[in-house]
């Protein structure tokens, strides 16, 4: 089976590492890659030694990748456009992999270490996305190092420590077998989440979600006159009804997220706490007028105004934080200058 030049250039053009290159540059880049066909049922091995490390891009068919990392073997599937091995090639960290053509013929293109150096010299624009991928991988691996060092420092019994270490080993092996695919995740991060603004973004997401949810549920309950059945009325000696408003549940969520965030948490934990805070804040602001006026009437415009202000503040935090920081800094400088 031969690998057509057009399809190689087209597939390489879809790889995010090369997306900043023009079509003719991608065509020139494609000439640097070695074309390899793997017939159905056959396997090719790479990465036994540093010299045999390869950056692999699947051009046609579905390949099965088996990799050995941290003493564990992992399997992954690669479809056209999926890639593997560029970070290993950069670090020179030998990792044995086998590519099999289990579901029919597979066409791949590969690049060795010298080839990667050559394309980086020829097309330095590739270095930027590559540096971003290296930095992301380094951040994750640094987190693993820290987790394992903390496990060692805790002085756990040997069997429990061994079990926790084995768990991390599996996670690292799974990461070692990770294939980079053409996904919308990067696009989402680039267009929706402003760099360095992840916690405020998840706060805003939680806020909008819970606000919309609470408004919709209350509207449906009032429309179908289900207050008596669905508004949880607290029984007691008082003849009048007492209802635990949902701003109280929101307050519990806000308080719990705030208290938990005072203690050391990882990056993922912080994202979750920001989301929980947003959920709680949505419930609290939805009934802002109730506790402001001590009046159980739900349809008060003050609640909507408060929700609008809170959403606007969160939006500023997510998308205009740099502007407001610079504005505050400049204002402060002006105030100091005039004194």
């Amino acid at each position: 089976m031969s690998v057509e030049e057009d399809s190689v250039a087209s597939i390489l053009g879809s790889v995010s590492l090369f997306e900043s290159l023009r079509a003719e540059e991608v065509a020139r880049l494609a000439t640097r890659f070695e074309r390899i066909s793997i017939p159905a049922g056959r396997t090719r091995d790479f990465g036994d030694t540093v010299d045999s490390l390869r950056f692999v891009v699947v051009v046609r068919g579905r390949a099965t990748l088996r990799s050995e990392t941290a003493g564990q073997s992992m399997t992954a599937q690669l479809d056209p456009g999926d890639r593997y091995g560029e970070l290993g090639l950069m670090t020179g960290h030998a990792r044995k992999i086998a590519l099999s053509a289990e579901d029919g013929d597979v066409a791949i293109v590969t690049l060795d270490r010298d080839g990667l150096d050559a394309i980086l010299e020829q097309f330095p624009a590739i270095a930027n996305p590559l540096a971003i991928e290296l930095a992301s991988e380094l951040a994750v691996k640094n987190d693993y190092v820290r987790q394992i060092m903390e496990l060692h420092a805790e002085g756990f019994p040997a069997d429990q420590l061994a079990s926790a270490i084995a768990e991390r080993r599996t996670a690292i092996a799974r990461r070692g077998a990770r294939v980079r695919r053409v996904t919308t995740k990067q696009l989402f991060s680039r267009l929706v989440v402003r760099k360095g603004s992840e916690p405020p973004f998840w706060m805003l997401a939680g806020f909008i979600l819970s606000l919309a949810g609470a408004r919709a549920v209350v509207a449906l309950i009032l429309k179908y006159k289900l207050e008596k059945q669905l508004f949880a009325l607290v029984p007691g000696s008082d003849p009048n009804p007492m209802h635990v408003h949902h701003f109280n549940y929101g307050l519990v969520l806000v308080g719990a997220a705030g208290l938990a965030a005072l203690f050391p948490v990882g990056r993922r934990g912080l994202r979750s706490l920001a989301f929980v805070f947003g959920l709680g804040a949505g419930l609290v602001f939805d009934e802002f007028a109730l506790f402001w006026n001590l009046n159980p009437e739900y349809a008060q415009s003050l609640s909507l105004i408060a929700c609008g202000i809170a959403a606007a503040v969160l939006l500023q935090l997510v998308y205009f934080r740099a502007f407001w920081t610079a504005f505050a800094r400049r204002t402060l400088r002006m105030v100091r200058g005039t004194r």
């Binding site: 970070l87 950069m90 670090t91 020179g92 960290h93 330095p124 624009a125 270095a127 930027n128 590559l130 540096a131 971003i132 930095a135 991988e137 380094l138 951040a139 691996k141 987190d143 190092v145 394992i148 903390e150 060692h152 805790e154 756990f156 429990q160 079990s163 270490i165 768990e167 080993r169 690292i172 991060s189 402003r194 760099k195 360095g196 916690p199 207050e227 008082d238 009804p241 007492m242 635990v244 109280n248 307050l251 806000v254 308080g255 705030g258 208290l259 965030a261 005072l262 203690f263 050391p264 990056r267 912080l270 920001a274 609290v284 506790f291 402001w292 001590l294 935090l317 934080r321 740099a322």
Partner: protein, 340 residues
């Protein structure tokens, strides 16, 4: 932290220091001088924090003069110093590339002058001068290789460190009230959970006394209660929000203080905020036969129950946090073993 005015000579000197940063070494002088002009130059006093772990932010810092240290905080609150930074050292480039939260705390050891390159400027520099990205890619690859090597060594080591032995000082003071005071209060002055607990208890005492006398001498208790519970909402909401966004140690102590005060104010008046429906005939109509008696609401039992629960949670957080972390770890390990 103070902004520093930049003269032409200072620009040239700062550009020379930027040349010492490995990934900026190949950039021409004119570009570096432009970078210095568009960047902020900030002065830090000793012990001042330049960047805090887990803080959002993507600007790149270059130390122009002075020394700083890189440290991380463990879950038990202990601090580990990773390395020292001097003139020509850069940090923050990882966050600029990935958009991730800061991974370590950088504190000034001496008087430090730093150049803060805005994230957008640094992005532009990498795009217009690809050799910067190339140098960074090579440097990051080396660091990744070193970290992978460390990981392999750590994964091969299964023995835990023996638990620390109690100190002789502890033995000598065994059973004394002084020791209890020292261990339970003095040693925890900087612990955020303890600050929250202390603020909670102190506020409760002050507020209950104030409200008691406001009712007794009719000093507009309804207005006082309203100001107190709205302040509680504002303090709790504000401190919870900033505790997710701010990681400077000094600010976090203020956040913990505000959280404790806010929680106390809300729980102290939970009877009011939970029970205002009882003055309504149904969910929409106010009951004309029932007078709005705020003192009756204030004295309801819900507040006392909530205060007790809040106190128990804060005491657990201050004194038994480590036990719960370990218990959670052991439980999860056992569960995973059962499953697999």
């Amino acid at each position: 932290m103070t902004a520093v005015a930049v003269t032409t000579n200072a620009v040239s000197a700062a550009a020379q220091t930027l040349k010492r940063v490995p990934f900026l070494a190949l950039v021409d002088e004119a570009t570096l001088e432009r970078l210095v002009r568009v960047s902020r130059r900030v002065h830090y006093r000793p012990r001042q924090i330049l960047v805090s772990e887990l803080e959002p932010g993507a600007d790149v810092y270059v130390i122009l003069s002075g020394d700083a240290e890189v440290s991380v905080d463990a879950r038990d609150g202990s601090r580990t110093v990773l390395r020292k930074l001097g003139p020509g050292s850069a940090f923050g480039e990882m966050s600029s590339l990935t958009g991730e939260l800061r991974s370590a705390t950088i504190a000034a050891l001496t008087e430090v002058d730093a150049l803060i390159i805005a994230d957008a400027e640094f992005d532009q520099l990498r795009e217009t001068r690809p050799q910067v990205a190339l140098s960074m890619a090579r440097e990051l690859a080396e660091r990744l290789h070193a970290v992978e090597h460390t990981l392999e060594q750590l994964l091969g080591r299964n023995s835990g460190r023996p638990p620390a032995k109690p100190s002789d000082r502890g033995k000598a003071a065994k059973g004394s009230l002084v020791r209890a005071w020292r261990e339970l209060v003095v040693a925890r002055q900087r612990d955020l959970a303890f600050i929250t607990l202390a603020a909670f208890v102190g506020t409760l005492v002050a507020v209950r006394l104030s409200v008691h006398y406001a009712f007794r001498f009719d000093l507009t208790p309804r207005e006082l209660l309203r100001v107190l519970y709205m302040s509680g909402f504002a303090l709790l909401g504000g401190s919870a929000c900033t505790s997710v966004l701010t990681f400077r140690p000094t600010w976090r102590r203020w956040i913990a203080l505000a959280y404790g005060i806010g929680l106390a104010l809300i729980l102290n008046e939970l009877g009011v905020t939970l029970a205002f429906d009882i003055f309504f005939k149904d969910i929409h109509t106010a009951d004309p036969n029932v007078a709005f008696d705020v003192e009756r609401l204030y004295r309801r039992a819900e507040s006392l129950r909530a205060i007790a629960i809040g106190l128990v949670i804060l005491v657990q957080a201050a004194y038994l946090r480590r036990f719960y972390v370990r218990a959670w770890f052991v439980l999860m390990t056992r569960l995973r073993r059962l499953r697999g």
